[in-house]
């Protein structure tokens, strides 16, 4: 199968609180840009399907040169080619992103399987895969956890409320990938990382498109609570915590 895998690098989602600030804009200090975790899941699924079908995958990312970290990772894991659609980062309307990714997909000659991550951890939109499927009028399977190749079809496991659903799907197809038993990203070999650093990245110019959504405002959200600590040695901590839990159980959480 021919696979197109769409990847995005984001500011490290596990940066400590306060490292990324939002005083009316995004201030990221020295937080590094990394491949997002769901994009890692998408990459893993692309590698697996390419291997099992004796096919190949091409990695596509839209953004500035900071995106190259993700494309290099894809190359190290066996991507046939890496394409970057050159557009500035910052908030991007997912519909406009999907239109530009569609143009990149057409330029790459299309695919049997289009693989997206579930959600990019910067704007937490979680909609680009579905938009892309709607634009191309292709079937869409969201939240895929596991894929098995069966000829030109795929047996897909997708997350549903309280469990999963499996079915056999024909290609062409668009999927979004979530974390689950089958999509934990493998680590590339050191040798392949070194080789990938020397491979070229094809740069495409984005097609013109009018965004529908604009970022009007961004502000810091507050999640902190005024907590207190149970201190002392371990025995004292255990006694203190047991007392809190007993109090909770007795009052049924009422007060």
């Amino acid at each position: 199968m021919r696979i197109l895998c769409f990847l995005k690098a984001i500011l490290d989602p596990e940066a400590p609180p306060g490292a990324i600030r939002f005083p009316g804009k995004v201030e990221s200090g020295d937080v590094s840009t990394v491949l997002g975790p769901f994009e890692g899941n998408a990459l893993e699924l692309s590698v697996q399907v390419a291997e099992a079908s004796s096919g190949a995958f091409v990695a596509v990312a839209m953004g500035d040169a900071a995106q190259d970290v993700t494309l290099r990772k894809a190359l190290a894991l066996g991507a046939e080619r890496a394409v970057r659609v050159d557009a500035p980062l910052g908030f991007q309307d997912p519909l406009a992103v999907a239109r530009r990714l569609r143009a990149a997909a057409e330029a790459a000659g299309g695919a049997d399987l289009y693989v997206f991550g579930r959600q990019a951890g910067d704007w937490d939109m979680g909609v680009t895969a579905g938009l892309f499927a709607g634009l191309l009028d292709l079937p869409f399977v969201p939240l895929v956890q596991h894929a098995e190749v069966s000829g030109q079809s795929l047996r897909l496991r997708r997350e549903i409320a309280g469990g999963y659903e499996e079915s056999l799907r024909q290609t062409p197809l668009v999927v979004s990938v979530t974390n689950g038993p089958g999509t934990l990203m493998r680590l590339p070999k050191v040798k392949d990382v070194m080789l990938a650093n020397r491979k070229p990245i094809d740069v495409l110019q984005p097609v013109a498109t009018e965004p529908t959504l604009e970022l009007q405002e961004i502000a810091q959200a507050q999640v902190t609570r005024q907590g207190r600590m149970i201190t002392g040695d371990t025995a004292q901590q255990a006694a203190g915590l047991a007392a809190e839990l007993r109090r909770f159980l007795v009052t049924g959480g009422g007060n």
Binding site: E14, P16, P17, I20, F22, R118, G121, W123, D124, M125, G126, V127, A129, G130, L131, A133, G134, L136, P139, Q145, L156, E159, A161, G162, G163, Y164, E166, S167, L168, T178, N179, G180, T212, L213, E214, Q216, I218, A219, Q220, A221, V223, T224, R225, G227, M229, I230, T231, T234, A235, Q237, A238, G240, L241, A242, L245, R246, F248, L249, G252, G253
Partner: protein, 305 residues
Amino acid sequence: MRIAVLARLLDAGEAQVLEALGLMASLGGEAQSLFLGAAAQSSLSAVGEARLGVHPGLDDPEPELAYAAALRLLGDEAPRLLLMPEGPLFEMIGARLGGHYGMGVVRDVDEVQVEGDGIVLRKGAYGGKANVRLRARGGVVAALRAGAFAAADPPAQTPSVVELGNLAEGGQERRTVRDTSGDDLGRAKVIVSGGRGLGSREGYEGLRPFAAMLGASLGASRAAVDEGWASPSQQVGITGRKVAPELYLAIGISGASQHLSGMSGSRLVIAVNRDEHAPIFEAADIGVVADWYQLWPQLQKALEG
């Protein structure tokens, strides 16, 4: 401005549908209530013109059938604002409808305002570290965060029933597996969640006797799910379950904002982590800086004693 609510009865739950109807009623404009269901119903709570698209496959739809059903019910021209409860139906078709009709799509919306010729929607970003307002110039599909809007109490109406006719299913050999491990998280009064800090599957499993003492359900961080210790349906967070128990215990969880987004509605939060700088302590009411494996034997004794 034409506004519609699109919901599958049985999908998100009645409360969430009433919240969407409440928002639609408060925005004014030309309102439409569009429902998908497996069988005709004589009356439904609805605002504005009410239509019910009927097909037996909508009892437990897969994505292709749900999408085809929605397209038939919506017709050629989408409303300017399409409101959907956040949930499985939106996940399957919401964004795809946006692509089809050329509409913007925003999920996790907790505020909607009509301002001049624009629609302004508020949502979280950066794992809940930020809130953003997005302005839509054209049409927009909005998935509404559960609990964020006041529910309407509209009179019951008789919807006009639209028989949706033949709709193709997208997959073959379909099989659904309900994995009961995370089933009760939504209703649980007490949740004990374990993270990567537990170190091993046995360590995670070791939470069971503790949970049993408290009558708690077991949740997990994404890292614990990735390690294979817990199932995806036990994941708590922005891309897992949103929970709001009376008591939430986080054991060996660092407190990444994406995890906090799923449990911030909990009434009392207790965190155990061996790192005093772990961000979870900023989001907890009671914190214990301790190694769980040293704390637990003594805690067990203290609780049994």
